[in-house]
C-alpha cells in the first residue's frame, strides 16, 4: 500500500513509554485533520495494544515493540508488532472480559476497546514469535 506519509517507532516494552507512544501517534495523525474524538479513539486503541504487548506478550521481560503508522487519504493504518509469547487462542482472547490474569484486576476489555474505537482490527501471530495487530480508522466519516 502506498501511503502519503509514514513513520515507524521501535521502543522498549516499558509502561513508561505508553504515554509517549500515544502522544507521538496522535501528533503524527494531525495532518489528516482528525476530530478530537477521533484522535482520542486512536490513542486509546493504541494504548490497549501496547499494554497487551508489555503485560501479556513480554510479561515483565525485556523486549521491543515496533509501531508502524501510515496515512492515506485521511485514513490511518497502524501496525503494532512484538516478539513476546503471543496468544494461543486469539479468537477466545478477543472476547469481552477474557483475561489470563484475573488475579491482577485485569478487565479483559482490551481487544473490545480496540474493536469499538477503530474501524477494523486484525490480530495474528507473528511468524517469528509474538503478535501482530493491524488496525485502521478513517477520519471524517
Amino acid at each position: 500500500m502506498k501511503f502519503d506519509n509514514q513513520m515507524t517507532l521501535v521502543v522498549d516494552a516499558k509502561t513508561k513509554n505508553e504515554s509517549f507512544i500515544r502522544s507521538t501517534i496522535a501528533a503524527f495523525c494531525v495532518e489528516a485533520n482528525p476530530t478530537l474524538s477521533e484522535i482520542n479513539d486512536v490513542k486509546t486503541a493504541v494504548s490497549e495494544a501496547i499494554t497487551n504487548s508489555i503485560v501479556h506478550g513480554y510479561d515483565g521481560t525485556d523486549g521491543k515493540i515496533t509501531i508502524a503508522v501510515g496515512l492515506c487519504n485521511r485514513e490511518v493504518f497502524i501496525t503494532i508488532i512484538d516478539q513476546g509469547k503471543g496468544i494461543e487462542d486469539i479468537q477466545k482472547a478477543r472476547k469481552p472480559f477474557f483475561t489470563t490474569k484475573p488475579e491482577q484486576e485485569r478487565s479483559g476489555m482490551g481487544f473490545t476497546v480496540m474493536e469499538s474505537f477503530m474501524d477494523n482490527l486484525i490480530v495474528k501471530p507473528n511468524d517469528s514469535g509474538g503478535l501482530i495487530v493491524h488496525m485502521k480508522k478513517k477520519f471524517g466519516d
Binding site: T15, K16, E18, S19, R22, S37, N40, D41, K43, T44, S47, E48, T51, I54, V55, Q104, E105, R106, S107, G108, M109, G110, T112, V113, S116, F117
Partner: protein, 105 residues
C-alpha cells in the same frame, strides 16, 4: 497522575488529574486503598471519583476501578463517578462500569 482528596466535606470526593494507564495503575491502586482506613474512621459510606481532570483512561483503568469496587463494596463503600471527559466516558460505558459505579449528577 496526581490524586487529591477531600474526605471532610458532606460529599467526600477524590480527584484524578492526569492519565490512568498501565504505567500509573499501581500508584492509583495503592493511593486509593491507603484511604480505606480513613473512610472507616470517618464512617464514610459513599465516595465520589471526580474524573474532570482525568485526561486519559484505557481498559487498564477499568481493571483498577473493578478492583476497587470489589474491595470497597465488601466494606459497604459506594463509589460514584463525576464529570468524565467524553473519551473516558466511552471506555466506562463500553465496559459497563456505570452499572456498579453510577454517574454522580
Amino acid at each position: 497522575m496526581k490524586i487529591k482528596f477531600n474526605l471532610n466535606s458532606e460529599a467526600p470526593h477524590i480527584s484524578f488529574d492526569g492519565e490512568l494507564d498501565e504505567h500509573t495503575a499501581d500508584y492509583v491502586r495503592l493511593t486509593l486503598d491507603s484511604l480505606l482506613g480513613e473512610f472507616a474512621d470517618k464512617a464514610i459510606d459513599k465516595v465520589i471519583f471526580d474524573f474532570k481532570k482525568l485526561s486519559f483512561m484505557d481498559s487498564t483503568g477499568v481493571g483498577v476501578l473493578l478492583g476497587r469496587f470489589k474491595k470497597w463494596n465488601s466494606k459497604n463503600l459506594q463509589i460514584c463517578i463525576k464529570d468524565p471527559q467524553p473519551h473516558v466516558d466511552r471506555v466506562l460505558r463500553i465496559s459497563g462500569i456505570y452499572q456498579i459505579m453510577p454517574l454522580f449528577v
